[in-house]
């Protein structure tokens, strides 16, 4: 009996050790890991990696930069401070973004996925290219409050980054172009296309009755704007909610200068929406049922709201529950638990 338990313990510990030994490769990124594939049914991506040749070393550099608070003025805030993996790379349970010195931003942190298909970035679409997107939070005084030149100085002063840039680019030149392209490799490879919804559409999974009803409702009421398979049409709309007078965020209008674009915001993707609560550009709704209650009551929409909202009509309690059941099928665990996107500093 005793010998048996000794043998069992020995067996278990060797299995555990084997597991740890294997884990040494957990943060290793191979050529195969940086292949960019367009998932079946997806449109042509907007971002072209042809001008930013994917390589494990550049990706690893981008990942480090994403997780390193060195990008902020006081080295307290990294990209990942607000784009947290547990929240589908949104800000877990926070309606508005947080920045240096305890400052609070003006908008809800969007979740990150399928960025290579984005025509523009931010809630107002002010940023026109994946590579230059990081410059916006980096220089925003309410977010990272930094300057590009100072970040480059700090990176240059770091032997670790000099080695990483050398590994990635073959020399120690640390430039904004290289920094931004490395970040674009990391963020551009965040592809979410293996949720239960995707498997269902491809005939590899089944939906419950509720989920099927939810999908049908979704397609007839929501999919014009939250267009499959990206679950956004990348356009800007007045989303029906009353502007928060404390924030007075004019959204798209601040970018175009056109009166008609005031208070319009980019249609967010709904992929991984289960994890990215709270919702809307200002994080006003704490959960999906609150969103359903708002959009399921036509009287809620303020005058001048997007005409597409009329399509929703009045939602019954059953409709709302079915829709939420469907939205939960958009959670993509393959993406959310992908080891490539884990914080490398925990090694």
């Amino acid at each position: 009996m005793r010998t048996r338990s000794v043998i069992t313990v020995a067996l278990f510990s060797s299995l555990l050790l084997y597991g740890f030994a294997r884990d040494n490769n957990y943060f290793t990124v191979t050529l195969k890991d940086v292949e960019f594939k367009v998932p079946p049914g997806f449109p042509r991506p907007v971002y072209d990696f042809k001008n930013n040749k994917l390589s494990p070393e550049v990706f690893v550099l981008g990942r480090k930069l994403f997780y390193d608070p060195i990008l902020s003025a006081d080295s307290t805030i990294s990209c990942a401070s607000c784009h947290q993996r547990i929240a589908a790379f949104g800000h877990f349970d926070h309606p508005l973004s947080h920045g240096i010195n305890g400052l609070i931003g003006k908008r809800n942190v969007p979740s990150l996925q399928n960025l290579a298909w984005n025509k523009a970035f931010m809630w107002d679409g002010g940023v026109n290219h994946l590579e230059v997107q990081p410059l916006s939070p980096l220089t925003n005084p309410l977010e990272m409050g930094e300057t590009v030149s100072h970040v480059l100085e700090k990176l240059h002063a770091s032997p670790m980054y000099r080695a990483d840039f050398y590994a990635a680019y073959g020399d120690t030149l640390i430039s904004s172009e290289r920094m931004l392209k490395a970040l674009a490799q990391f963020t551009g490879l965040m592809v979410s296309a293996d949720s239960r919804y995707d498997r269902f559409v491809q005939g590899r999974d089944t939906f419950s009755t509720m989920e099927q009803r939810g999908l049908a409702l979704f397609r007839s009421k929501c999919a014009d704007c939250h267009k499959e398979p990206l679950f956004t049409d990348n356009l800007y709309r007045k989303n029906g909610v009353k502007p928060d007078t404390a924030l007075n965020d004019k959204g798209r209008g601040m970018i175009t200068g056109e009166e008609r674009d005031n208070y319009a915001f980019k249609v967010p993707s709904l992929r991984n929406v289960e994890r990215s609560y709270p919702y809307m550009h200002d994080g006003r709704f704490r959960n999906l049922m609150q969103v359903m209650s708002f959009y399921g009551t036509p009287e809620n929409f303020i005058p001048g709201s997007a005409p597409d909202l009329k399509k929703i009509g009045r939602l019954s309690e059953q409709d709302k529950q079915d829709l939420v059941a469907f939205l939960l099928t958009l959670t993509d665990k393959t993406f959310l638990y992908d080891r490539r996107f884990v914080d490398p500093f925990i090694q």
Binding site: G126, L135, S136, L138, S175, S176
Partner: protein, 245 residues
């Protein structure tokens, strides 16, 4: 590739290259374009000289930077030669004011053209280096695009904090497109010549639109930026001799 094919290739390349060499000997070369900053007849001096605008408001200038690109030369026989490259002219950096046009074909050129600003393609091309590196602080991060021209200074008439004025002009999309092209006639020049281009800040602040510092001390908005852009489209002229640096 077999040896015979290679031999033919080398031979044919030599046949094509020979006339080119002859052409080069006949006057191909480089041309230097120098930008010089003035206020009326005076060479611009930052910070320590008081200037007056047409409304009699005094002011000093602390910063002048702008993008120049798409350089063109027009020859007397109607040929147009274009040169790539983006240049950031900065009053604080004397070297930045000289642009060398390489491989200017032989010919007599009696006009020069360029774009003030950055074309829309390069406002939408992601991370870039050199003159277009965002590290040069000529870039809007929240509404992507290059700042084509920065003019900053102080005027007692300005109602901004510290009596500062700050004109940051840019935008590549309607309705606030601030890309402007300039074409200047000049006495015929050949490769090897130097061209002096005067940028007159008094015109930037007055022609065709008069800037009143008490009403306009900060320009970032869609209405006023194109107005200043129309002014910078007319502030350049050809001068025959270099000014005082």
């Amino acid at each position: 590739m077999n040896l015979r094919v290679l031999r033919y290739l080398v031979l044919s390349m030599a046949t094509f290259a020979l006339p080119c060499l002859a052409f080069s000997a006949a006057g191909q070369g480089s041309m230097k374009v120098e930008f010089e900053h003035f206020l009326g007849d005076q060479a611009l001096r930052v910070d320590d000289v008081q200037y007056y605008n047409a409304a009699g408001q005094s002011f000093t200038v602390s910063k002048l930077k702008y993008y120049v690109s798409n350089m063109m030369l027009y020859s007397t026989d109607g040929a147009e030669v274009s040169f790539g490259g983006y240049y950031l002219i900065d009053e604080d950096k004397p070297d930045s004011k000289d642009i060398i046009l390489e491989n200017v074909p032989a010919g007599d050129y009696n006009a020069i053209g360029f774009t003030v600003g950055v074309d829309s393609l390069h406002n939408c091309s992601g991370a870039q280096s050199g003159a277009l590196d965002p590290v040069n602080a000529m870039y809007w991060t929240w509404n992507t695009g290059y700042i084509f021209l920065k003019l900053e200074g102080k005027s007692p008439a300005s109602k901004s904090p510290g009596h500062l004025f700050e004109f940051h002009i840019g935008g590549y999309k309607a309705p606030a497109n601030c890309i402007r092209t300039v074409r200047l006639q000049m006495p015929a020049r050949r490769a090897g010549a130097e061209i002096y281009i005067k940028a007159d800040i008094s015109l930037l602040l007055s022609a065709p639109s008069q800037v009143d510092f008490s009403k306009l001390s900060s320009v970032t908005d869609f209405h006023n930026a194109p107005m200043i852009a129309d002014n910078y489209a007319h502030m350049f002229s050809i001068v025959n001799t270099p000014g005082i640096r």
